[in-house]
Assembly symmetry: C2
Homo-oligomer: 801 residues x 2
């Protein structure tokens, strides 16, 4: 592996100090001159006709500058299927539907005004489960499809399907076979920074949006479309991303509140800020989809998988976000985790009157993995094979092409499995006996970006200044994951300057080159790819110019050196002859000739070189741009085929648990995680990201669930909705990185933003089964469910405890 | 002349609506989270030793976060000669010297705290005139030069000198000869937006400065040096320029208050804002230099100039700003306005205890021109030649090289003179008789940037998006003059898109390419030059890609068109064959083949083309950069030689005045101005700039003077310091532009930001002389001076009125 200067070494995050000292400016901190505060009036019904909206009392409240409804503003449609509306007219389809909004001179007045709005409804039958929504005579939540054609069911037209090999043949080849149904709940992304935006029109009716988004450029497109909707054809939006307090997928869509801010700003002619309170974030922002997965797998006597059949039902809620495309990612492990030829996968999405959902870290993979990796253990048990061994038998291999057409370049899954087994002392721990047990689960995920949009590209501009600093323009979003850390290291490494000389410009569609968004674990992968390309161009320019400038400057250096060291005899080295572009190197901010003797005057500080080429007749200053679209494909989702990512990340996690048979409490004794990351970029940020993901995975496994009562989310705070704190994470974790030095990865690295939470739940579930012989199939695994299961187990075995 | 699409036509300013509706954000409007307010304690002595500073009462005031003096902060030196200090130690040299500063949670507390600081002085003899400062035993204002060597006089080491031809020979050839001494006062730039800044350190001790500056990149360099001074070696500054309410040269230096804000921000760890009140702006910001010019010229019988001798004395005040380099510009008209072979020019700058000065629009040219153009009239009178005729006799010509080595490419001076004469009905008005008269004056100025720094360059980046918009990154500063208007037109014209699709990024050293600053009338010249270069690159890229993409997209267009028009028979034109890069054109946002028939489907909207090349396998998005250093030279000022500008602007102004012999009131009846602008870019903004300059010229001529009492400016408001209002400008002005289509100018245009105020004063003075036979030699020409002169005239002629 290459010997890197900065990559792979510990470096502080460039944004660390600001965040630690409170100097970072989140949307909550931003204030624009003349800014108003917006507040939304949400529906109190899950499904109803709107009979009347009375805004008169709100309008009369002093300090209110505007009150708007769908009845007095242009229609703005949004969403992946464009089935949602910024403000709702005629009918509400979920408890949180936006009915009206106010802008006022302070947030309290805005809130008071929103409460003064009264709405008269005519309730409609509401559908709160997939079953209800699929029932024969179920009421249609959307009467028409986005093209205006009448619909005849609550199933979305958006469908995902894969079939390869011969499933019947696979069944026949199977000596062992296990079916199962597994489900996952609605959960919240739980960003520490709640959602919010500021919308501001300039005098030419162009828009600036400060948005909590992960997709500034797709948001720009969406907002530009909204400008057309309100009659401002051809006008443009500049999207600026402030410091984000987490994204986790919640920033992959544009949101009603953003369009409402736009409408209010346009109405009032003043900037309008809308920021959600924590309660609003829980109740009115879209959580992660719930899911139900039917799985069936079989294997032959040797434990080799012969077929796999998976059917996913996804409760879409009332509208369709990008999160509805989860199955595009589910399809990856469904078709390609472990080697299995005969595969069938399909996913259906169903409208209900529940809250509509959106993406969250892992993007369907944790849901699918939950079913798959539980089922793997069940099948291994039937086949009488140790579950670790069973996974190794079916393990993916480098250079294979999977049934979905995924081209596996490198694959460290085997090493990951062996690593966690060894770290957990698998063999010994597997048979500890009652109440204690170990379990393991694997994952695969996109690791070389993931093409879900026509372009999967990112751009970069690098600009050098007179001081040897590099200004970096890149459209990727730092949302806390550490992107700017690897971005600065990547630029530093690729160019050959210290990371402290790298300055990352604010994320702004006006100044940054296009980027499809920070999702699909693509941030570090794309940042470093574009950095390598742009830095290469800069180095070529520098070395070409150095042919003339380097010898001239070095002559001055030598003169200066000899003045101070009169007895010095310089080595016999002809700088002018050696100054050929291919022989130059730039490292650590110094230009030198690779094979020159290491005399101190034979190195030229980059800033000095840049000033020398700038401050001469017809001087130059250097910048370079890159635009990188990875070698992957937008899959054909009707056929379920296509190499969606340039490379794939793998990993395994294993857990040792102890279960309290009386209380049902699950005590994690220790965990081991091993991830094929291609190459560690910055150990510090990578570990931070992985530990964070693991904690999120444990929340998903044991604690988190948004509770809905007739479509209304009722646990809208961190007291009633529990995420792991340091108290819950109080166990040893062995975290190791397998470096497979991927050929498609920048510096060999793969994207690994999401994988860390993918296999956590099944690993723990498998450990619980190993400990007490019960398998919980619906997340989260609560003590109540454990006790219920134990009760059932006892009644079935009729053996008293 | 080329047929332009947008250039030369009326276009609204892109910043117009924001400024008219109060949406533009000046430094006064900006607020940063956690921001403190700084206030400076200024000296109450013009020259004194500092014995003691007591800050204890200020420190105890609740709400005060820091009080600093030179005694507890690192030394920061600044200024063109580095003879100034952010905070003064040991000694003050001018009334306005900065002694201490406070940062507090609101501006009122800061002001109160500053007043609570008491300073004990030991007064020194103070020098308030050039004569006093040049006196044999004058006290030294600076005991040492910037290198620490002892000084022996108050004359600056900075000197300007030019000598060419043979002055004695020239004298001998002269049949007529006139000497004179002319002086100009201290005046204020009178920006509607007062000076101010915000300094903010991030957690890594890098600095962001929101600065009211015309030189963001030179300011960055200065601030980076200051960071080194305070122990933050290698740290970097990002300079952001908010909306400016005028610059007029006041932004060509960095200022003590900016370094004080930096010190306070570093001390407190919070952002610190310092904004001057109007009083402070008048009293504590540097005004335009006062000057005294000795001039002597001679001509032969034919009226041809045979020699010119000019000696300038400039009261530098206590410290040295960029304004001290005025003589570098004075040298241009001194050596090169009108044809004269034998020339001598020298300028001396003298330290006094007056307020130190800085640049203002015209940069020495109005001062020099005041002497020169008065003297021209006196010489014409002696020679018995009409002053207009006298000027035409000596008029500059295209393609000449002047004594200073200025290479005149185009020159419309003759046309300008003839134009104003015609518009003013010169011949008839010249002999109107008593109380009424006309006068004329010419000017020449740099018109193709002006090299006063090692690099005279500017850069540009153009980035295209999926909507056919262009983001422009350029370091030039819009300060109200209309730069962004010509910038957007220049980009639009050079690229071929409507100006409304051009979006100019905020001026920010982090995102904009380097630019030496907005001075020397270079803004429009450089913006358009860089635009032409960058746009050319973009067009080349577009046309190359169009070879493949255009036919494909046109095929779709044709299909669509034929669907709607089934009977349509397309013309016999083979798109694929014609799609060769050289045959493409981009105009008004559409790509087409130049010689294609004008069918509607044969034009491709740029946005659609850009999406087509973006949303394909290995897609691209286009951007291009340029860096332009004009073909001019940094003159050798010891020799007074060098072609400082790529081209030169010329112009003439003429005035008709009536003088009230009883009150001395001067009534301007009408004015005519004609300027050789090369090419009009945007008539609207150009006229605005010229009318504004003329008003400023009239203020200089008749009203403006900063009054100083023992070094203290006493008229610190617009009641006591009068600038022309609409009431004073209530006379007809004929303004015409001579288009010489300069070969070095972008679209043929020259820079003309400054010329408009240069000849105004002598034109009016010459008209007054023509009207009443008295010549005022020191500006402003007040009624008192007129009455005094009339009194002297009467006593000399001994003819009763």
């Amino acid at each position: 592996m290459t010997d890197f200067q900065y990559i792979g070494k510990e470096h502080s995050r460039p944004d660390g100090a600001d965040k630690a000292t409170g100097k970072a400016h989140y949307i909550h901190d931003l204030k624009r001159p003349g800014m108003l505060f917006g507040k939304i009036k949400f529906s109190s019904q899950a499904h109803a006709k709107i009979k009347n909206i009375d805004v008169s009392r709100a309008e009369r409240l002093p300090g209110v500058r505007a009150v708007i409804t769908a009845y007095d503003t242009p229609e703005i449609r949004l969403g992946f299927m464009r089935d949602n509306y910024a403000l709702k007219k005629n009918k509400v389809r979920q408890y949180r539907d936006e009915i009206a909004a106010v802008a006022a001179i302070d947030p309290d007045i805005a809130a008071e005004a929103a409460e003064l709005i009264t709405v008269e409804y005519e309730p409609l039958p509401a559908l709160f489960s997939i079953e209800e929504a699929l029932a024969e005579n179920a009421i249609l939540i959307h009467e028409k499809d986005p093209q205006g054609r009448p619909r005849n069911s609550n199933v979305l037209t958006l469908k995902y399907f894969h079939q390869s090999g011969d499933l019947e043949q696979g069944r026949k080849q199977a000596h062992f076979m296990v079916d199962g149904v597994f489900s996952t709940p609605l959960i919240q992304q739980s960003c520490m920074g709640t959602a919010g935006c500021i919308a501001e029109f300039d005098g030419n009716n162009n828009l600036t949006m400060w948005a909590k988004t992960q997709i500034p450029f797709l948001a720009q497109r969406d907002f530009n479309r909204a400008l057309s909707d309100i009659g401002l054809q051809g006008k443009n939006t500049r999207v600026i991303v402030p410091t984000l307090g987490g994204g986790f997928g919640s920033g992959l869509d544009t949101h009603c509140y953003e369009y409402i801010a736009i409408l209010l700003a346009y109405r009032t002619g003043q900037p309008v800020k809308i920021v959600y309170t924590r309660d609003e974030e829980f109740a009115y922002l879209s959580p992660r989809q719930s899911s139900r997965t039917k799985i069936s797998q079989g294997c032959n006597r040797d434990g080799k998988l012969t077929f796999r059949r998976i059917e996913v039902f996804q409760d879409n809620g009332a509208y369709t976000s990008w999160g509805a495309t989860y199955p595009s990612v589910m399809m990856i492990p469904a078709t390609s985790l472990y080697r299995v030829k005969n595969v069938s996968f399909q996913a259906k999405l169903i409208y209900t009157n529940n809250t509509y959902c959106q993406a969250m870290r892992g993007y369907g993979n944790p849901e699918l993995n939950w079913a798959l990796e539980n089922n793997m253990d069940e099948l291994a048990e039937q086949a009488g094979i140790d579950p670790l061994e069973f996974r190794l038998i079916n393990c993916n291999q480098p250079h294979e092409i999977t049934p979905m057409g995924l081209k596996v370049s490198s694959c460290g899954l085997k090493e990951c499995l062996e690593n966690v087994a060894s770290n957990l002392d698998w063999k010994k721990k597997r048979s500890l006996g009652k109440r204690r047990g170990v379990g393991v689960a694997s994952l695969m995920h996109v690791g070389g970006s993931g093409r879900i949009y026509r372009s999967d590209a990112s751009g970069m501009i690098l600009k050098l200044d007179d001081f040897g600093n590099v200004n970096v323009y890149h459209g990727g979003v730092e949302m806390g994951q550490g992107l700017h850390s690897v971005l600065s290291l990547g630029v530093a490494e690729a160019l050959g300057v210290p990371p402290t000389k790298v300055f990352i410009n604010p994320t702004d569609t006006g100044t940054c080159p296009w980027d499809v968004g920070t999702h699909a674990s693509r941030g570090a992968f794309m940042a470093c790819q574009t950095a390598i390309l742009a830095a290469h161009k800069l180095r070529q320019k520098i070395f070409a110019l150095a042919e003339e400038t380097f010898p001239r400057e070095i002559e001055k250096s030598l003169k200066k050196f000899r003045k101070k060291n009169p007895d010095y005899i310089p080595p016999d080295f002809d700088v002018a002859t050696a100054a050929i572009r291919d022989r130059f190197e730039l490292r650590d901010g110094f230009i030198f000739i690779k094979d020159a003797p290491s005399e101190p005057w034979l190195r030229l500080e980059l800033g000095r070189f840049l000033r020398a080429i700038h401050f001469q007749s017809q001087g130059q200053m250097l910048s370079a741009e890159s635009f990188y679209d990875p070698p992957n494909e937008l899959p054909d989702f009707d056929k379920g085929f296509g190499n969606i990512s340039a490379t794939y990340a793998y990993g395994a996690q294993a857990a040792e648990v102890e279960v309290d048979l009386e209380t049902g409490d699950i005590n994690i004794i220790r965990m081991a995680a091993a991830h094929d990351v291609g190459k560690v970029l910055n150990p510090q940020t990578l570990k931070g990201q992985m530990y964070g993901a693991l904690a999120q995975g444990i929340g998903y496994t044991l604690y988190e669930e948004l509770k809905s009562e007739q479509g209304r989310i009722i646990n809208t705070n961190f007291r009633d909705y529990k995420i792991p704190t340091i108290a819950e994470m109080n166990f040893p974790i062995t975290l190791e990185f397998i470096e497979t030095d991927d050929q498609f990865g920048p510096f060999g690295a793969k994207g690994v933003g999401e994988p860390g939470l993918v296999p956590t739940a099944p690993a723990i579930a498998n450990a619980i089964y190993n400990a007490i012989g019960v398998r919980i199939r619906d997340l989260p695994i609560t003590p109540e469910k454990i006790l219920d299961a134990l009760k059932k187990q006892r009644s079935m075995s009729q053996e008293p405890e």
